[in-house]
Amino acid sequence: MPDVRTALYDWHVARQARMVPFAGYAMPVQYAGVVEEHRAVRTHAGLFDISHMARLSFGGTNATAFLDHVFTNSVAGMKLDQVRYGLLLNDAGFVLDDVLVYRWPYGYSMVVNASNRGKIVAWLTAKAAAFDVRLGDETDATAMLAVQGPAAVALTKGMFDLDANALKNYYATPTFYCRNGCVVSRTGYTGEDGLEIIVPNELAASLAEELVARGAKPCGLGARDTLRLEAAMPLYGHELTEAIDPLTAGLGWAVKLDKGDFIGRDALKAMARTRTRVGLELDGKRAAREGCPILAGGEVVGAVTSGSYGPFVEKSIAMATVPVALAAPGTPLSVDIRGTPTPARVVSLPFYRRPKPPETSP
């Protein structure tokens, strides 16, 4: 099957993006280069096409109860327009996906990883049978763009029928762009302040063009990956899989064990936790790649889940899960990079924290 093209496909190609297949989509991996794009986001603003992320909607009288049944974070406790990060777990307490849930006056939205869309839609549909809930998939009708960086929110001034700067962190609102309905959300996957914007497909190119004209640099999936790594945000398929539980993955803050029952909760409560996610800083500039064995005293104690040269922190950094006894910051470990043991030490996460969060943060 040919890769699906987002509404911005022609726009990417016209801007000489290098296109790669990703989760069934043809996506830009880079334009000018990963390092340049990464630094633009850290110092000013970058624009990402994230239309491949799946956008689901939930209506019906039981939508709140249903989402609280499948989602690890609290849904009933969400305020109007609030956005919450959390996990969908299987009965064994392992991670099916990590998602964002949005609360609207008329129901909810959920943004799901592109690579998990088919699996999650099927799973949700099966679970929804016992509830009065309507599940919709709006992915194909809309585009999703992210504008991220310290200048991102300010550069959108006047573009929407709202002042995005008045939007609190992890809040979203339906508004208008060029007299068409859209959603603006103060969320992101880069460790910077910024917005994620959902618009009808027809408006995607003009929105992208306007954001670039206002100073946002086009960025590909390459920079998105290195930015999220510096910010220590997990990526499904790497830090998160169906072989890891959310507490081992360091996401206990997004799991409300006391909110009432949800799928995977009992298994999670019964689990003995022996490992935890850590950050590693390596000597030299050589990058540890996914799968590189981690050694302590000559014994393999884990494997790298994500690793790269961090373009802004200018260090070789990696994430991995290791035994709890080896997780304290400063613990010396060694990473086997293609046969060469490379000294590394555990560091506290994230590798990068933005200098000053916006005043509007909760």
């Binding site: 280069g33 790649r289 790269s308 040269y309 373009p311």
Partner: protein
């Protein structure tokens, strides 16, 4: 790109290394195509002087933010010179891969040569083919 290098006189390996022969010494680097694919070279691992290299066999590695690639020796012989400053500052590879960004110089082993490598026309053909 260095003005003194005539790309037509270089020989090319399918794995995107170039070779410039002067007597029994062959200078080795990577092609512009390889540089464009890498974009951001962050790290380079090169052999020491005196290392024996064999045509088609990795002699080092080159790493960008996204990936790591083997550097394959286009010819067989002994490394007689290494562009050592690249290890700490790889940017000449991005800026001038046929000149200041050269990697190693190899003294050809007895009987070794460059006849198995492609000329520019044939290499260009390979690139055109790869693009599809």
């Amino acid at each position: 790109m260095s003005a003194t290098v005539n790309l037509d006189e270089l020989k090319y390996a399918t794995s995107h290394e170039w070779a410039a022969q002067g007597g029994d010494i062959v200078t080795v680097g990577i092609t512009q195509y390889a540089v464009d694919q890498l974009t951001d070279v962050t790290h380079l691992q090169l052999p020491k002087v005196g290392t024996h290299v064999s045509a088609g066999v990795p002699f080092g590695e080159i790493e960008s933010v996204k990936a790591v690639f083997d550097l394959n020796a286009p010819v067989s012989g002994v490394v007689v010179e290494v562009n050592a400053p690249l290890a700490s500052e790889p940017s000449p590879i991005n800026e001038d891969c046929y000149g200041r960004g050269w990697l190693i110089r190899v003294q050809l082993a007895p009987g070794a040569g460059t006849a198995h490598l492609a000329d520019k026309a044939k290499y260009d053909e390979q690139l055109a083919h790869d693009a599809h």
